[in-house]
Symmetry: C2
Subunit: 240 residues, 2 copies
Amino acid sequence: MNTSVLPNINTDLVEMAPHFQFAHSVDCVIFGYDKGVLNVLLIESDHPDYRGQWSLLGDLLRPNEDLDAASYRVLRERTGLTDMFLEQVKTFGEVDRHPAGRVITTAYLSLVNVRDHQLKSIDNALQWRSVNDIDTMAFDHKMILDACLAVLKRKIQEEPIIFNLLEKKFSLRNLQLVFEQILGMSFDRRNFRKKLFTTGLLVDQGEMERNVKHRPGKLYSFNREAYDQIKKKSFVGLQF
Amino acid sequence: MNTSVLPNINTDLVEMAPHFQFAHSVDCVIFGYDKGVLNVLLIESDHPDYRGQWSLLGDLLRPNEDLDAASYRVLRERTGLTDMFLEQVKTFGEVDRHPAGRVITTAYLSLVNVRDHQLKSIDNALQWRSVNDIDTMAFDHKMILDACLAVLKRKIQEEPIIFNLLEKKFSLRNLQLVFEQILGMSFDRRNFRKKLFTTGLLVDQGEMERNVKHRPGKLYSFNREAYDQIKKKSFVGLQF
């Protein structure tokens, strides 16, 4: 057996050699929020079988690259972003998911603030698309997007990750809109505000919104340091 | 380039060929609860570098096998179990995690009821070990175990998965013990019971415990059908 194309294999373990025939990729599901719409960053696929269809931003894992490092690299290379929320969600490994052979892919969820982080449009083919407008995608990317969206819906209720989608200073009106847009439901304004204030984690910035069509609201920031202190008592109670 | 050892590769895409040099495995973190102790099912490693150290139950993904199917196969082959809670948790892909080369592994969390499901000890090397007694393990398996334990702690608070560790009929005393053992904290007995009854998901079986040293308690079952109905309103409220 010629193992010259399999440089990573310890030849003491030749019985494992036939198993070293998989490729591994990362796919980043990058969500952004803009003017009342939850968007996801996509690119037109250049794969012959899916040309012109929307595809997630991803790449093949390199032989000497950690899995997490690959997801950071994809974000950095394709968007210019270096400091963002990024978390592994799920790995997809169906036999026929990629036409080139067995490519297992690990999906990462990322949240970016579209205004603070202007995308350095390295790649003009990148586009923000409303998650509600996406029907079909290349490969199994629609399934991956849906899985990440479900995780996003759960996580914004459990951890304060939603603030990654907002500017540092935000109005409660805008915060409520983001929650409502992602969860696909509306909240009573008073109850929502009461609930948020009860956390003690919002800091009044002593400033008002500007250039808005509605009556300007107060601006707040999220007190992450206080949250990190509270978080140590990890028991959140039985929710089911 | 000789691609004869890479049968899955579409030769139209030869530029991808050098990427097909990874192996992929699944590792199952199988938890069981017995007499006040949370256990995990382990096996002594037969890998030369880790001989005699504790290892998770896992195997290499086969060329024509879906990722999820591989985890079911490992459970079935090694334990004889076919019907259990099994869920993907996380994928571990550090460059040096396996001495044989790039082996990416996906960890699955499984919960079994030790009494209802007698292990068909196909493999005598399998042992239930208390999670509190495990210091070192083969490969990066201690890190994988810790990650799955953290997910278990979170999930038992969010979803009624804990009942997978118990017999169909259980006492509230035993249910509280399992929660306390996994979370490493104790609950006030009255508050715990009140909270559980408030869910409306426990069904009095009209029977009492037998052969116990303490005063026998009532036996209950979990009403999964009712839970599945409730679950449809997915918003659990802001927990952070």
